[in-house]
């Protein structure tokens, strides 16, 4: 039988009296809380009449404790069991003043996040350097022993990272070459200098665009693939199985990937240079009436070979960084599918960031040495 809990305040014979009745249980908690709130402050001298109270549980005790205070509560004529209940609840209520949440200050919070981010960045870069060192070390161990070269894996990776990426890289750079030529044609024609479109396309592709676009394409395409491959192997304990068989996963898995990238990225860069300049040539022929023969003649006359080397020197550096970041993130995967996803994202973001950062440093360097 349930009976709604209630509380009345009345004054009889000049004395304040509270009458409590019904079920003081969690089922009536909200109702009772409202009643207590309506009652307002209870005078200290009040006496309580609980004869008609049917049930009491922790919720009820807690309400009474708030309303009457510990002293009054303990004076109530209750059974021993109920007194134990009161002891427990009072104990629980009194030693758990919840700690105030620390005042959040937007500025301090921002500093905190910057700090966390910086220390993570530092740790990441340190790990990456360590991984780079370990890879170079195993490369040094293997280099003198052709029997340990993983030729099959190397060739497979070369196909995957180089040959399969060729069409998309060629198409992309062709289109960007066309766009750059359009820009040049539009802006330079105002000065009557549209012939310099050729120099614009030539310089930009040899020095920057070809290698940068290729590196960014491979960062998105290959770094993520490396991370996902190694990450799922890690999650499936395959990398542990390799180690348990006395094999070095760096030698088996990382070296072929890094070496394949070192070959394929420069090769793709070469293709990208040709394709980008080709794009510029087509647009020049269509909109500026510069024939391909003239285009090539001026290109050859005005563009030094050093520009080609500026672009090509960067390619192996980017390739190494992309491959190392992709593999390192793969090894960091920790067993769940979610982790594979997180690290794949991180490897793409990191490698694109590093490529652009390094490119900026290279630009400064080449400017200083007047190349």
């Amino acid at each position: 039988m349930q009976e709604n809990g209630y509380i009345h305040f009345n004054q009889a014979e000049g004395r304040d009296c509270l009458t409590l009745g019904g079920d003081w249980t969690v089922a009536h908690y909200i109702d009772l809380k409202k009643q207590l709130a309506n009652l307002g402050d209870v005078p200290q001298s009040v006496t309580c009449n609980i004869e008609s109270m049917k049930k009491l549980d922790t919720a009820g005790v807690q309400l009474l404790y708030r309303a009457l205070g510990e002293h009054k509560l303990r004076q109530l004529p209750l059974t021993e069991q109920q007194h134990n209940l009161i002891d427990t609840v009072i104990n629980a209520c009194s030693n758990q003043e919840p700690p105030l949440p620390p005042k959040s200050n937007g500025f301090v919070k921002m500093l905190e996040r910057i700090g966390i981010f910086s220390s993570n960045l530092y740790r990441n870069q340190r790990d990456l350097l360590g991984f780079m060192g370990a890879t170079l070390q195993s490369a040094a161990q293997v280099i003198g022993r052709p029997s340990r070269w993983r030729v099959t894996a190397f060739v497979a990776q070369l196909e995957e990272t180089g040959l399969n990426a060729l069409p998309i890289v060629a198409l992309l750079t062709f289109l960007v070459g066309a766009v750059v030529a359009f820009l040049g044609a539009t802006v330079l024609s105002d000065f009557g200098a549209s012939i310099y479109t050729i120099n614009l396309v030539g310089f930009s592709f040899l020095r920057e665009f070809a290698v940068l676009l290729t590196a960014i394409m491979l960062a998105g395409r290959t770094a993520s693939a490396f991370t996902a491959q190694l990450g799922s192997m890690k999650a499936n304990e395959e990398i542990d199985a390799l180690r348990a068989q006395g094999l070095n996963p760096l030698e088996l898995l990382v070296l072929p990937r890094v070496l394949a990238m070192l070959v394929s990225l420069p090769a793709l860069t070469l293709v990208a240079m040709a394709s980008g300049i080709g794009g510029g040539m087509v647009i020049s022929a269509l909109t500026l009436d510069i024939s391909p023969a003239l285009f090539l003649h001026i290109f050859e006359r005005d563009t030094g070979i050093n520009h080609f080397w500026v672009g090509m020197i960067k390619a192996p550096v980017f390739a190494f960084v992309i491959a190392i970041i992709g593999c390192n993130e793969g090894f960091k995967v920790s067993g769940s599918a979610q982790s594979v996803g997180e690290h794949t994202t991180s490897s793409v973001v990191q490698s694109i960031f590093m490529v652009i950062l390094l490119d900026a440093l290279f630009a400064l360097f080449f400017m200083e040495i007047n190349w």
């Binding site: 919840p98 799922s232 499936n236 395959e238 542990d240 180690r243 348990a244 006395g246």
Partner: protein, 266 residues
């Protein structure tokens, strides 16, 4: 009878969290030793410590008389060729067929001609009953078959020690029986030393020569299976007979229950 694996007073911590505080156990040569304990106490960590993939904070780990944590890379890799591990998931290389998976350690570590490798692989696959499945890819195998294929790979180099990580987890009764039988027969016929880490009490006690129970970051009980079953220590009883509450509490520790409930009321 010499001990193949000896752990003495090993302490180990994962970052802040201490996993082992003074763990000691020995595995005699040619015996099957079971290591049991509730989930989440780092039984797999134990196998990684023995395999040298992790280094203990302190204490000694000896395998075949060599101090594993002190070994440099090369001798460690040499030692690992004598040990083999069966992973919980099987850990077959997903891009190779069953045949190539079993042949993999042979191709890596020996210069045997391909015809001989083929014979060995077929023998190993026959031993686990998967000779007919050699052309399948790991994705096409059932869980029990994958584990048997992984077992064939684990014994490909005829190791001295096999470590089984939860070999019975998630298996139906039939494949469980098959694996129990395989472990037993491999051990007897090849004279292997085996460490079986598991919490499947009945299965492992039927094949183990000796068993350890780990809890509270150390060995709480050890003995021959029969002796353990009649052990009256609270923790041993709770574990072996699968009681819900006991020294290993049902509740993940937190504040007092009442306190926790009342927090919401404020």
């Amino acid at each position: 009878m010499s001990n193949f694996v000896e752990l003495n007073n090993v302490h180990f911590a994962h970052g802040e969290r201490s996993i082992y505080e003074g763990l000691s156990l020995t595995v005699p040569k040619g015996k099957t030793v079971a290591v049991m304990g509730p989930s989440g106490i780092g039984k797999t960590t134990l196998l990684r410590l023995i395999g040298g993939q992790l280094k203990p904070t302190s204490g000694s780990i000896k395998v075949a008389g060599e101090e594993v944590p002190a070994l440099s890379r090369k001798p460690l890799y040499e030692l690992r060729k004598r040990m083999s591990m069966l992973f919980q998931s099987g850990a077959l290389f997903t891009d190779m067929s069953v045949f190539d998976n079993v042949a993999f350690p042979l191709r890596e570590h020996t210069n045997l001609p391909e015809t001989l490798i083929r014979s060995i692989v077929i023998m190993k696959l026959e031993a686990v009953g998967l000779r007919g499945a050699r052309h399948l890819m790991p994705a096409e195998l059932s869980g029990g078959m994958a584990r048997r294929a992984a077992l064939a790979r684990a014994i490909a180099l005829d190791p001295d020690l096999i470590m089984y990580d939860e070999p019975f987890a998630g298996q139906d009764p039939i494949s469980m029986g098959v694996i129990v039988k395989l472990i037993k027969s491999l051990n007897d016929s090849l004279g292997l030393t085996s460490i079986v880490v598991t919490h499947d009490v009945d299965e492992v006690l039927s094949i183990a020569d000796y068993a350890y129970i780990i809890a509270d970051k150390r060995v709480v009980a050890e003995g021959e299976p029969k002796a353990l079953l009649s052990d009256s220590t609270a923790i041993v009883k709770q574990f072996l007979h699968g009681e819900a509450d006991g020294p290993v509490a049902f509740h993940y520790s937190d504040d007092d229950f009442a306190t926790d409930l009342l927090k919401g009321a404020q």
